[in-house]
């Protein structure tokens, strides 16, 4: 029977199954970071347990780390969390890319970069954006700290088999439209709980045409659609990206692995519990105006009116969102002024993202009322960008060029948007207070955020790009 890739990977990883119980699933790769792991390691110590497979774990520091003056973390609680990860990794023998390590970066950026992320794996991390790794054709999902502890001690998890969903993106993308716009458009169209209880596979011509970095942007935000995980069947693009990476096999072993990986792709005629479709050519560069990722519209549009919604609870949600965001119903998106620009996060801080932003701002200046920062997703991305001279372009335009980490995506470190101010952000969440108490976040692509930095308000980046071409 034709199987989809989700069923194939799931079935391969069942350690134990019994009627009336979730499946006991084997985990191939466990990524760890400083914020959601300390209580798990402490749990192991209290129960006198060990890490079953330290060789399948990899840790880094990202959420909490400063993006400048790294040697002096002023906040003692943050410093303690960083030091705790170091000592836990030392004690339990887990490989760690700490703040000074050349491989350090946001966990979802370095997993693929180092070739740890591979097709067919089950991958978990105490972080909901673990779905990013699905871009390679892996089942990758976020877990809580109790589950982190469970995986550390047993390398398994009890998991109820989720339903499967196909999200098909038909046709070709229009000029100036990016992967970020696709995923924001999908979420706006189908809602932030469209994927609850499902693992989603993205298919269709527009998805096939994406690079690996673009696919990661899409899969990253699967969780914003409520899906447990999102993935894309591996193809030649996947294989080409993996070749030569640090943890990927070489020579004959690579060829053998590549054949196995390609065979994981969903079979012709495979079916799904739920199927949704969107046409690529109806997607515009996107901007969110509200307080969850589904509250967004194409840039040529406007903030919606209450009358556009049917249910009372949706009208109420709009009212609450606009009150928080300081916006009026019907305001054209291009009329909204911003004070901050953040180019970073596990969604959009890879080399191609920085290139896209640099291209827009080259030779221009950041608007005088805007503070703009670039936070590369990893130290490797930072180094590569510097070798290409991207840092000079950003600095010349008036952006700040920082060290890698999560930074203003969740504002756990010093990178905070002040109350009532507005930020054009390439990250993935625009929840109330996400970038700072009272801060107003608008999600968009790197090119759109860069264009906003120059204009001081949202603009349709295609206009800039068209005059350039």
């Amino acid at each position: 029977m034709a199987k989809n890739i989700i069923e194939k990977i799931w079935d391969q990883h069942i350690v134990y199954e019994e009627q009336g119980k979730p499946d006991l699933l084997y985990i191939d790769l466990h990524l760890l970071h400083e914020v959601t792991s300390p209580q798990a390691f402490e749990g192991l110590r209290l129960a006198n347990r060990t890490v079953r497979r330290p060789d399948l774990c990899f840790a880094t520091m990202d959420h909490n780390v400063p993006t400048r003056n790294r040697d002096a973390i002023k906040d003692p609680i943050a410093r303690k969390q960083i030091n705790t990860l170091q000592s836990n990794c030392d004690e339990f023998g887990v490989e760690l890319a700490n703040m000074d390590h050349p491989d350090q970066g946001i966990v979802h950026i370095i997993g693929p970069e180092l070739g740890l992320t591979q097709p067919g794996k089950t991958i978990v991390c105490g972080d909901s954006h673990t779905s990013t790794h699905g871009a390679f054709g892996a089942i990758a999902f976020g877990i809580g700290t109790s589950e982190v502890e469970h995986v550390l001690s047993t390398q398994t998890l009890w998991q109820t088999k989720p339903k499967t969903m196909e999200i098909r993106v038909n046709g070709k993308l229009g000029f100036g439209v990016t992967a970020k716009d696709i995923i924001l458009a999908i979420i706006a169209k189908f809602g932030i709980d469209m994927g609850t209880g499902h693992i989603a596979e993205y298919t269709g011509e527009a998805i096939r045409n994406l690079t690996m970095e673009e696919r990661m942007t899409i899969c990253n935000m699967s969780i914003e659609a409520g899906a447990k995980a999102g993935l894309i069947s591996p193809d030649e693009t996947t294989i080409a990206y993996l070749k030569g990476r640090k943890h990927v096999p070489e020579g004959d072993a690579f060829d053998k692995a590549a054949a196995t990986w390609l065979a994981l792709a969903s079979d012709e005629g495979a079916t799904y519990d739920t199927v949704v479709e969107i046409d690529a050519d109806e997607i515009e560069p996107f901007v969110t105006w509200g307080t969850n990722p589904a509250m967004g519209s194409g840039i040529t549009s406007h903030v919606p009116y209450a009358k556009d919604f049917e249910s009372e609870s949706d009208k109420e949600a709009l009212k609450q969102a606009l009150a928080y965001m300081g916006l009026e119903e019907g305001a054209p998106l291009t009329s909204i002024d911003i004070q901050h620009v953040f180019i970073g996060s596990c969604t959009n801080a890879r080399l191609s993202d920085l290139r896209a932003a640099a291209k827009v701002i080259e030779g221009k200046k950041v608007h005088s009322s805007v503070t703009a920062i670039v936070v590369p997703g990893s130290r490797t991305v930072k180094k590569q960008a510097e070798e290409e001279g991207l840092d000079a372009i950003f600095l010349e335009a008036g952006f700040e060029w920082r060290e890698s980490g999560c930074s203003m995506c969740l504002a756990m470190n010093d990178d905070v948007v002040p109350t009532g101010e507005r930020c054009a952000s390439t990250s993935n969440r625009n929840f109330e207070g996400r970038q700072g108490a009272g801060a107003r976040t608008h999600l968009m692509s790197p090119a759109m955020a860069a264009a906003s930095a120059i204009a001081g308000h949202f603009v349709d980046v295609r206009e800039l790009q068209a005059t350039k071409a």
């Binding site: 300390p38 129960a47 959420h63 105490g126 809580g144 589950e147 009890w158 969850n292 969440r429």
Partner: protein, 197 residues
């Protein structure tokens, strides 16, 4: 974790949908390396103004609901981040049960591991509970064994729960100890993988 079966309390009506884990526990409180002590930070930015004074009309600050053990909210409760600090803070504040029409997957899992009972009722049932709870303090009895929620007026709602998690919650079992009983299967799986490479 603590076993849970019967909970009797007035309901706290939180009239919101898509309550995300960033709202439940804001990031500035995630730096602690303990599992305890998060209750005072739950819904912090909804409970307090920037100067630390209480937001008067926020439901958790309403005297009538002080000491409530049952939180009721609209769809998609607990969406967003995987932070287990969310159920930790809800439990530590004093709630043992959250009732909503739907929950985000990771949050739902996290509840099960901590003895916080997530109950799914239909949209109209939840709306009824919210309406009752908003008019005047409305007390219900939750019974996990029987899978029922019974209002003070006798109105009873029943709910579904995965039998595996039901047992875990009723007994307060530690899941890791349970899994160790499957050690043989795990070892066999690892052996098979080794040989196939």
């Amino acid at each position: 974790m603590e076993p849970i079966n019967k909970v009797v309390s007035v309901v706290t009506p939180l009239d919101r949908k898509n309550v995300d884990t960033d709202q439940i526990i804001s990031k500035e409180f995630l730096k602690r390396i303990e599992r305890t002590g998060f209750g005072k930070y739950v819904f912090y930015h909804w409970r307090f103004h920037e100067d630390g004074s209480e937001v008067k009309d926020f439901v958790l600050n309403d005297e009538r609901f002080k000491g409530s053990k049952i939180l009721v909210a609209h769809e998609n409760f607990g969406c967003g981040s995987s932070r287990e600090h969310a159920p930790w803070s809800i439990l530590d504040y004093g709630f043992n049960v959250v009732i909503a029409p739907s929950f985000a997957d990771i949050f739902h899992n996290n509840c099960m591991k901590n003895g916080l009972l997530p109950i799914k009722l239909t949209v109209s049932e939840v709306e009824e509970l919210l309406a009752n709870g908003q008019q005047q303090p409305y007390s219900v009895e939750v019974n996990l064994e029987k899978q029922t929620v019974t209002g003070q007026d006798g109105k009873t709602y029943s709910f579904d729960i995965d039998p595996y998690y039901k047992q875990m919650l009723l007994n307060g079992w530690d899941e890791i100890s349970l899994t160790f009983q499957y050690e043989e299967h795990i070892a066999k799986y690892e052996e098979r993988v080794k040989q196939s490479v």
